[in-house]
């Protein structure tokens, strides 16, 4: 991809950079946590390059460190990652064709999907998806290794408020879509279902419940 020809706003590129930076800090924290729990270095390296889905990796490490079976941990992680199936359907045009799509699928995550779908034109959607995806694919394993090597230095993700940053980015990027009634109604309904379900079902499932909100989806309501 020729960088000079990237059809994106400077603002979008800066935002992608900031998101990668935030992911990098979370990666440092995750790497040092994995090291502190006594995992050898290859565990976080393998997870961060081969799985490349932060929430499920945390869960995997957490369950195994707590004495759970790695296979149970993998199953729990897969449940958290189940939302990538509908994501894949939604971003099929951004992932690309042929051999390129093999990598395009691997870099699919919340951030690359949200940057991709929030751009106005196809060329911009593709560029945002790929730049964000490749950026995270680069910085995530590097920062995880960094964190594991540095070890005891654990950046406190909550003190610098990164836990608020991730939901904020997602909401800000989908906000224009939410201004449409067609999208707003199923999204609100679905999210309400997810929130109600969260205390009662395993991680990953509540988010899938939100798709039930699509039962209220009506095309005509978008005429505005």
């Amino acid at each position: 991809m020729r960088l000079g020809a990237v059809p994106l706003d400077r603002g979008v590129i800066k935002a992608i950079f900031l998101v990668c930076l935030a992911d990098g800090i979370v990666g440092l924290s995750y790497g040092s946590l994995a090291a502190a729990e006594g995992f050898p270095l290859w565990v976080p390296i393998a997870l961060s390059t081969l799985v490349l889905a932060g929430a499920s990796e945390f869960l995997f490490i957490g369950i195994v460190a707590g004495g759970g079976s790695p296979l149970t941990a993998a199953a729990a992680g897969l449940l958290v990652n189940a939302r990538h199936l509908p994501f894949g359907i939604a971003v099929k045009d951004l992932v690309g064709k042929g051999s390129r799509s093999l990598l395009g699928c691997h870099i699919m995550n919340d951030e690359s999907v949200v940057f991709g779908i929030s751009q106005p034109k196809l060329a911009q959607r593709r560029a945002a998806y790929w730049i964000c995806g490749l950026g995270i694919f680069t910085i995530w394993p590097l920062s995880v290794i960094g964190g594991a090597v540095i070890g005891r230095f654990i950046p406190d993700v909550s003190a610098i408020a990164l836990d608020a940053v991730f939901p904020a980015i997602l909401i800000a990027l989908i906000f224009p879509a939410l201004r449409q009634r067609r999208t707003l109604i199923p999204a609100t309904l679905g999210t309400t279902l997810s929130v109600l379900a969260t205390p009662f079902v395993p991680a990953g499932m509540p988010v899938l419940f939100s798709l039930l909100g699509l039962l209220s989806w009506r095309e005509c309501k978008n005429a505005k």
């Binding site: 603002g11 935002a15 900031l18 565990v43 997870l47 081969l50 889905a53 499920s56 195994v64 079976s69 790695p70 296979l71 941990a73 993998a74 992680g77 897969l78 990538h84 199936l85 509908p86 994501f87 894949g88 359907i89 939604a90 971003v91 099929k92 093999l102 699928c105 691997h106 699919m108 999907v113 779908i117 909550s158 003190a159 610098i160 408020a161 836990d163 608020a164 991730f166 939901p167 904020a168 997602l170 909401i171 800000a172 990027l173 939410l178 199923p186 999204a187 609100t188 679905g190 999210t191 929130v195 969260t198 509540p206 988010v207 939100s210 798709l211 909100g213 699509l214 989806w217 095309e219």
Partner: protein, 106 residues
């Protein structure tokens, strides 16, 4: 050490996750879609992302995440509603949450 089991677990998680991503992509590419279905699928991603955002804003695991994080995210929603540039939305959310925590809000 249960190294072999850990390798098995990582392999299962990695292969499974990739299969989920790839299956979605293949499924989407194979379906003959009307404009209506296409619109609905793009909304499906938005619905999922809002659910991810709101549940991670409200909960840490299955417990309430605390006021500071929620206030930061709500401030971000307000800024987004006012059409503030994305960078400022991100910084605003982080500042709001960090300040509240600094002053002892959970």
């Amino acid at each position: 050490m249960q190294n072999n089991l850990i390798i098995g677990g990582i392999a299962l998680l990695a292969v499974g996750t990739y299969a989920i991503r790839f299956a979605g992509y293949r499924l989407g590419s194979r379906m003959q879609m009307s404009d209506r279905a296409r619109n609905m699928l793009s909304d499906a991603a938005t619905v999922l992302l809002l659910a991810v955002a709101v549940t991670t804003a409200l909960f840490e695991g299955t417990h309430f995440a605390g006021v500071a994080r929620i206030a930061g995210v709500l401030f971000a929603v307000f800024l987004a509603w006012r059409r503030t540039p994305l960078i400022l939305v991100i910084i605003g959310a982080a500042l709001m949450t960090a300040l509240l925590r600094y002053f002892g809000v959970p």
